[in-house]
């Protein structure tokens, strides 16, 4: 029996990229296949597993993460507010105060750093911005509610990032501040991506994603994913690749005549 420690180590590392619920079977397939590969090419063969695992990760329609399970806007904001409150509570503990503002840092430098941080907060969205869906005209109440939700979500997300780094600075020192911009960008990207996956009317997460069309036929038709609002407010068409015809997500509003198709939706429509 040939030793395949290196190959198995590569496969195990690659398996971390695969979705958890498919990881065991994915690993079993690659391990069984590598058994047949000549030892001279086995390591190279295993490197392809990373690409395969990434593909699986990108195309996994499996269970959603904790954050995307926060279906309703109230649940989402409550979760973020809880996290932010916990972060602020921990950041106020005496042990986590000193490292962020070392004695060598004068008040002027501290103020300057805060000003730069604030500026970067304002500039960060420019680096993270992704086109929102084309929602067509929506009632002003819906638009207002959507923007209030975005603003609150952004504020909580940035507060969580700030508190997290503040607490982290206790362990690693002021160098934690260096992670402020990247962490803010990740948080803002999450805000935008989450918003793109929500119904513009009720702000709940869209469900039942269905793949439409084929990549090879995109010249005459679009292909991508169609999700729907479980309350029957509409459908969201998300093209897989932005083209000149379909460069952004498009929202198709469904009026009340469609409500009979959505079980229990009639009473839930707002």
């Amino acid at each position: 029996m040939k030793s395949q420690r290196l190959e198995f180590a590569i496969l195990r590392a690659a398996s971390l990229l695969a979705p958890a619920e498919q990881r065991a079977e994915w690993l079993a397939e690659w391990r069984s296949e590598v058994w047949y590969v000549p030892p001279s090419g086995a390591a190279r063969f295993c490197l392809g597993a990373f690409r395969d695992a990434l593909w699986l990760r990108r195309n996994n329609p499996g269970p959603m993460s904790v954050l995307t399970r926060l279906d309703s806007p109230i649940e989402c904001l409550a979760f973020l507010a809880t996290l932010a409150a916990a972060g602020m509570f921990l950041a106020r503990l005496p042990m986590s105060r000193d490292p962020m503002l070392p004695s060598a840092l004068s008040d002027g430098m501290a103020l300057g750093s805060m000003a730069i941080a604030l500026l970067l907060h304002l500039l960060a969205p420019a680096a993270t911005i992704r086109a929102m869906a084309d929602y067509h005209p929506l009632p002003w109440a819906c638009r207002l509610r959507r923007w209030i939700f975005v603003v609150l979500k952004t504020a909580f997300a940035l507060l969580i990032v700030s508190c997290g780094l503040f607490i982290l600075s206790f362990a690693v020192g002021p160098v934690a501040c260096q992670g402020f911009v990247p962490a803010s960008i990740v948080a803002l990207r999450w805000v935008v991506i989450d918003q793109r996956q929500r119904c513009p009317v009720c702000l709940c997460l869209l469900t039942n994603p269905v793949r439409i069309g084929r990549a090879s036929e995109m010249f005459l038709d679009w292909y991508g994913t169609e999700s729907m609002c479980s309350r029957g407010h509409g459908l969201l068409h998300a093209p897989e690749i932005p083209t000149s015809c379909y460069d952004r997500q498009e929202w198709l509003h469904l009026d009340g005549s469609w409500s009979s198709l959505f079980s229990g939706a009639a009473g839930m429509r707002r």
Binding site: E29, S32, V37, G48, F50, D52, W55, D221
Partner: protein
């Protein structure tokens, strides 16, 4: 939408390989000359599009041969029609991955 899928060269080669009997991922790699990082994601894509289907062989068969059980792939009905369309589209496909090679192997 057309009845049969239009395949890329890579997908057509993999479909042809599976169609003539190279039913394991590594054997598809060997016969097409494509790297593992191309073949396995492509096969998953074909499976997602229901052109092929995968199945684990019975453990007893693998145990009898003293080797790990393998996952093998087979064409579905729509995969067969897609392959037929691809063969018409790429006439050299049948020569690239021919049945004789399998018999020789």
């Amino acid at each position: 939408m057309a009845d049969t899928a239009k395949l890329s060269h890579t997908s057509a080669m993999i479909l042809q390989a599976i169609g003539v009997g190279y039913i394991y991922g590594y054997t598809v790699m060997e016969v097409t000359g494509l790297p593992s990082g191309t073949v396995y994601p492509a096969m998953r894509r074909l499976e997602r599009d229901q052109l092929i289907r995968s199945q684990w062989e019975r453990q007893s068969i693998a145990d009898a041969a003293d080797r790990p059980a393998r996952k093998y792939y087979k064409l579905t009905r729509s995969g067969e029609s897609a392959l037929e369309a691809a063969r018409n589209r790429y006439p050299l496909l049948a020569k690239l991955v021919a049945t004789e090679e399998l018999e020789d192997a």
